[in-house]
């Protein structure tokens, strides 16, 4: 009895070998790149793996090794290509810790993109929280050129970089989960993170005003060459356009399912247009979206956004804090600018994209009793493009920070 029991124990331990794998027998993929090739159905997959010995105290002599190993192989889907990669990578590639999937713009714009990305949802290894980045250049180039300076470990880089960029709203939260929900919901536009390591025609700051860039356009000296800015617009699983960081922020403000912490922005000083007033924009409450669906006439969509701003700097030294009239003017300036920009974005989406990047289709659903009638009403062909949309921004609170007054120029220059 006891002997058989012991035997059984050993049997189990032996049998467990199939799934048991030692930590050092695996390579942890942090980023996956997807590029299309000339053959339909074949893709180039780039895997960026972390080198565990770099950046850990236990790794003796590992400091000369690079922090990551990047390999590119051809294959038909994400998982099977890892096995091909094993012909020259010594360890088993594990996708559990993947943080980002990088797709080249070219691939994202192709019709077949949905096919290759679909395979990612089939394996339990790739999580739904993985962020999707669209790179201007080839994904393999993006991953190879991406050389973060301060974060030696790649996963840390992606984690901190994206968290911060998403918090400030210049790139959207673009998890695979969101991608699939929106794409399969077949109504709205999905926004992917847009990034590049290549410099393109750089705009100067006055044109850009902090956030009117897309990645690659930001003048930069020093630091890592990689820029995250703006978003790639996907319609029905296919990329159709790029929007700037500013537009991405507006999309954040309008979409209740996206979260943004607030950002710093500037407006031209209404009193002295040569200077700009900087403020911190924040939105304590979700936008109120009120859709009135009408079967035969255009649907009306009313959106109300309450926001707060805190003035950070007034280089013109105008006395906004004390003077009510000035302050009103400043408030008006901010609201008008926001409304103008929003209007432009909505117009673009209605005319050009013929769908919305704000996930508003959710709010029209309640007018339908069942899915067939909802699908028949057709949000992105019939309802949205013809809708009348009014967006009102309400400035809830205007704060001036810890200084009551700026130094008076004429007194200083006495």
């Amino acid at each position: 009895m006891k002997k058989t029991f012991l035997l059984l124990c050993f049997l189990f331990i032996m049998a467990g070998c199939q799934d048991r794998i030692e930590l050092e027998q695996q390579s942890y993929v942090i980023a996956i790149g997807i590029d299309s090739t000339d053959d339909k159905g074949t893709y180039e997959f780039t895997y960026q793996m972390a080198n565990p010995e770099v950046g850990s105290a236990a790794g003796q002599g590992g400091s000369e090794e690079p922090a990551t190993e990047t390999v590119t192989v051809q294959g038909s889907d994400i998982l099977s290509a890892t096995f091909t990669a094993n012909s020259f990578v010594s360890k088993k590639l594990t996708l559990d810790h993947t943080k980002v999937i990088v797709v080249s713009e070219e691939t994202a714009r192709s019709d077949d993109f949905i096919r290759v990305i679909q395979s990612a949802s089939r394996t339990p290894q790739v999580r739904r929280q993985v962020q999707m980045i669209v790179s201007k250049e080839k994904a393999s180039d993006f991953i190879n050129n991406n050389k973060p300076l301060l974060e030696t470990r790649p996963h840390k880089y992606y984690q901190t970089m994206l968290t911060r960029a998403i918090e400030t709203g210049i790139v959207p939260e673009a998890t695979l989960h969101r991608f699939f929900q929106i794409t399969e919901g077949d109504a709205d536009l999905f926004l992917g993170i847009y990034a590049t390591t290549e410099k393109s025609d750089q705009k100067s700051a006055s044109e850009g005003a902090e956030d009117k860039y897309i990645a690659g356009e930001i003048p930069q000296i020093g630091g890592s060459p990689t820029q995250f800015m703006g978003s790639a617009v996907f319609k029905e699983g296919k990329m159709i356009d790029i929007i700037t960081g500013e537009e991405t922020r507006l999309a954040h403000a309008l979409d209740p399912t996206l979260r943004m912490e607030g950002y710093l922005a500037t407006v031209p000083d209404p009193m002295m247009p040569d200077y700009r007033v900087s403020y911190e924009y924040s939105q304590a409450e979700m936008p109120k979206i009120d859709i009135h669906y009408h079967k035969d006439k255009p649907t009306t969509i009313n959106v109300e956004i309450e926001f707060q701003i805190e003035v950070i700097a007034i280089p013109s030294l105008v006395e906004y804090t004390q003077n009510v009239a000035y302050r009103k003017k400043l408030e008006k300036e901010v609201v008008t600018r926001l409304e103008q920009n929003t209007k432009a974005l909505i117009e673009k989406s209605q005319k050009e994209y013929r769908s919305d990047p704000f996930y508003w289709s959710l709010y029209v659903r309640k007018y339908f009793k069942d899915i067939p009638s909802y699908e028949k009403a057709d949000w992105h062909k019939k309802i949205y493009p013809n809708a009348e949309i009014n967006v009102t921004y309400t400035l809830d609170k205007l704060e001036f920070g810890k200084m009551i007054n700026d130094s008076k120029l004429d007194e200083v220059r006495d």
Binding site: I21, Q26, A57, A58
Partner: protein
């Protein structure tokens, strides 16, 4: 009066005491191999009160010589009076009519007096067994609470208990066990509380023990158990009188022997092993805090190594990437699989533990040095062990000390190895399965009819003192699973 149970079957010496003194002397001399047996003493004298010859028998090693001289011999030689009981000044005198009893009495430290032309012998207590004095508890330590511990003397131990429990219902009953060496086992209980079924069950088990001798309580424990092969103990062993008294007050039964510096408490539940009396001496929050820590220790010591093996070998996705890379980096140069590393460390820890108990006092400090070498930096630098394993093993070893009860401690330490092997075989699946089986096994155990996890499940009226205790004022009931005669501690 002491009851003579369990001895009836063996009656080769059942003959009654003779009328003639010389025959009695001869009988006694033969029984105790007088002359060969160096400490067996005989003293003949002439009693003054009835002018007859008398003879005293005793073991000189286990009686108090002064007592005999001043309270037996001197009065016999000098005093006059009617009856023997009026002459000797010793505490109690019992009449004995057969040799078997006489022999037993001598063995337990009494003096037997034979008198010419008297078929009754007199047994007088002058026992003085050597024992330690009451010392501080060595193995169960408190910061707050009484510090005394039982010692190897029945009278002292009972005195320690009675000191705390002033109750005339506290009964100290004795049963003899063993055939060749008849040792006394004392059953202590509160008469108007205890459940008679449990009490008679215990007595029956004591009666049923059919063995030559049971020297001490530690051996008795194993004779009383229902399931000797079981991993989980069903009798509680403690050396603290205050702990024993607390259980007595709740209606439990306690066994004591003259030879052990501890007592047995029964029946038990899981909570008896989990609790420490100090939880109640500490204030409500502090006591429960230490309970919470102890619960964590239970988990850590039994499962942490196994959990680590399961996660690292099967579910590596769970480890946060930074930690994962650090562990991986340190494992790159280790020549063994992870399970081997863990086993090496766990066994090394057990080695140090076992050796540490056996090591003679003067060599004590060595164990620390050697231990630190095996379990520490040296092993890591030799690339045998990765640093995280040292932490894991240290954690599981350290927390094992929080389980104060020795039996439970062993059980958990053995379980640890079972869990490690299970985790190594099929990760969390096997680990969860193994835990569930063992848990259900524990739930199925009954100690003297009491389910192991009561009063949590099955539920009983009780103080609800399981993982956490209530404030003392809210403890109204005694444990309902004991089915006591008086179930209330206090009125509301």
């Amino acid at each position: 009066m002491r009851k003579m149970k369990g001895s009836q079957k063996q009656n080769k010496n059942k003959e009654t005491i003779h009328y003639s003194l010389s025959a009695n002397i001869e009988e006694m001399k033969q029984s105790f191999s007088y002359g060969l047996n160096k400490d067996f003493a005989m003293r003949t004298l002439k009693a003054k009160y009835n002018e007859k010859k008398a003879c005293l028998f005793y073991y000189s090693s286990i009686v108090n010589g002064d007592t005999i001289t001043t309270h037996i011999i001197k009065p016999l030689l000098e005093q006059t009076g009617e009856k023997l009981s009026n002459i000797v000044t010793i505490e109690n005198v019992e009449e004995v009519t057969d040799f078997e009893t006489a022999i037993q009495n001598i063995n337990s430290g009494k003096v037997i007096l034979f008198i010419e032309q008297d078929s009754t012998a007199y047994s007088m207590d002058a026992a003085d067994f050597q024992h330690r004095t009451v010392t501080k508890s060595e193995n169960e330590r408190f910061i707050k609470g009484p510090q005394d511990a039982f010692t190897e003397s029945l009278n002292t131990n009972i005195s320690l208990i009675r000191k705390q429990l002033h109750n005339h219902q506290l009964v100290n009953e004795s049963i003899q066990v063993g055939k060749r060496s008849k040792n006394e086992v004392n059953i202590i209980y509160v008469k108007d509380l205890v459940n008679n079924d449990i009490l008679s069950n215990i007595k029956k088990r004591l009666d049923d023990i059919d063995v030559d001798s049971i020297r001490n309580i530690e051996l008795l424990e194993q004779y009383l158990e229902e399931r000797p092969y079981s991993l989980i103990p069903t009798i509680l062993y403690t050396e603290k009188p205050d702990k024993a008294t607390a259980f007595l007050e709740d209606g439990y039964v306690i066994l004591l022997m003259n030879t052990s510096s501890a007592c047995l408490i029964m029946p038990v539940t899981f909570w008896s092993f989990f609790h420490s009396p100090e939880d109640r001496y500490l204030r409500f929050l502090y006591g429960n805090f230490s309970r919470a820590i102890r619960l964590l220790c239970f988990y850590l010591t039994s499962m942490i190594s196994a959990t680590f093996v399961a996660i690292a070998n099967f579910h590596s996705e769970m480890i946060p990437p930074d930690l994962l890379l650090a562990i991986t980096a340190s494992r790159e140069r280790i020549p063994f699989p992870l399970i081997f590393e863990i086993l090496i460390m766990e066994i090394a820890f057990e080695l140090i533990r076992e050796a540490g108990i056996r090591i003679p006092n003067p060599l004590g400090p060595t164990i620390g040095i050697v231990g630190a070498l095996i379990l520490g930096q040296a092993a890591v630098e030799a690339n045998i062990i990765s640093p995280i394993i040292v932490i894991i093993a240290a954690l599981s070893g350290l927390s094992s000390f929080a389980i104060a009860d020795l039996s439970m401690n062993f059980a958990v330490r053995i379980l640890r190895f079972i869990f490690i092997l299970a985790a190594a075989s099929y990760g969390m699946l096997a680990l969860t399965g193994a835990f569930l089986i063992i848990f259900m096994y524990a739930a199925s155990i009954k100690s003297f009819g009491v389910p192991f996890f009561s009063p949590m499940s099955p539920e009983f009226v009780s103080t609800k003192d399981t993982i956490f205790r209530k404030i003392l004022k809210k403890e109204i009931y005694r444990p309902g699973y004991l089915d006591l005669k008086d179930n209330r501690k206090r009125s509301e």
